[in-house]
Subunit: 228 residues, 2 copies
């Protein structure tokens, strides 16, 4: 069957979200230490990771909570230093992989329709695509929030197939998370796992978690599609 | 009595917050229109101002609400376009007045202690000072949130005097809002009104709202202090 549509996950597939996250958190703790937080970087980073783990990514008071967990008094100047450093670093690392735009461009030139299937909050993910400078490449963007979920579900692929009026075997999904590959496989979409980010070291445990293809650079998806 | 301390309001006193706000909102609506919002700029801007008026400045879903008020379906891509343009414009206009840093520097060189007395959320106002690049000038920062208020209260000047171990007649307050001048007068702090921003056209109605001095440029405060 000829492929007509390629859909992508966002984090660690179209840009280095793992690198962004670790640097944003490290720089936030560094800035808070410079503003007077009495903790060493390693310890502060470790506790901040705990705070995010416990309160979720979209909680708005991670740094307030960090101070509390360290047994320290609320200090708006220290918290503000963390927020500013976090935001600035986050923005600085919101850049596509070097081969992201060339790959998307090549696929569009070759006549493929492109889309996004990704976990997260709909507005926040759309913001990322705008700030990455790639939102105009995608015809349809399907985000898990609109399905009442934090991460990709197989139902999202069903909706994606409808939006593109495509059969499962005509659609390639590129993602980095094993769980997302599983969901694509569930709907018989052609799954391609990109080994990037923190998740790159995880191995599938069942056959349903195994991707049809595996790549280590996004641009390799072009050759895979050509050979199909 | 010799002046020893000068304290400043932030918005429209240390930077052009009125210009920042109107441009951020206009650019947000422009971006949303480009992303498909079926409304003209004037109308969109008017309704957005209404939304902020009704829900407060710190509400997190102004653009969602704008779509609702216009009778339109929720559209994360349009909302994201607004959020990105709003944030980028906000950041671009978060710059001190041309004479802000020279004035603060001159006052510090001349031996005055500096502080901030301002309305708002403590972390957000501290962020502004960091991003304006002026946080190191101020010894004490007193923000209304910590007093359970959205704007400056006279009690904040009481606390400010304690922090600086100063008598009212030794402290100058520079602000643009009539209400803030009133609060400074209540505590017999030397009030200086800077005619900047949207509030510049408002006139005091009672004697208690009248500032001791009035200026149209921040740097003029130096001459006033010298003459005292």
């Amino acid at each position: 069957m000829k492929i007509k549509t390629v859909v992508f996950n966002i984090d660690d597939t179209l840009y280095d979200a793992s690198l962004q996250m670790s640097n944003a958190r490290l720089n936030a703790v560094r800035a808070m230490i410079e503003a007077g937080l009495p903790v060493d970087l390693e310890n502060g980073y470790r506790v901040l990771n705990q705070v995010v783990e416990e309160n979720g990514k979209y909680y708005n008071h991670h740094f307030d909570e960090l101070l509390k967990k360290l047994g320290l008094k609320w200090n708006p100047r220290v918290i503000a230093a963390g927020v500013v450093a976090y935001r600035e670093t986050n923005l600085a690392f919101l850049r596509p992989f070097p081969d992201t735009i060339p790959t998307l461009l090549k696929l569009r030139e070759s006549g493929y329709e492109l889309g996004v299937v990704s976990g997260g909050l709909a507005v926040k993910e759309a913001q990322k695509l705008i700030q990455l400078g790639i939102h105009h490449f995608f015809e349809h963007v399907v985000i898990s929030e609109e399905f009442g979920s934090k991460s990709i579900t197989s139902n999202m692929f069903k909706v994606c197939l409808e939006k593109f009026s495509a059969k499962p075997s005509e659609v390639v999904f590129v993602g980095n998370e094993i769980q997302d590959i599983f969901s694509a496989n569930e709907e018989s979409v052609v799954s391609v796992r990109l080994r990037k980010g923190e998740s790159r070291i995880r191995e599938p445990k069942t056959n349903k978690e195994k991707p049809k293809y595996e790549i280590t650079k996004l641009s390799e998806v072009i050759d895979i599609i050509k050979k199909m």
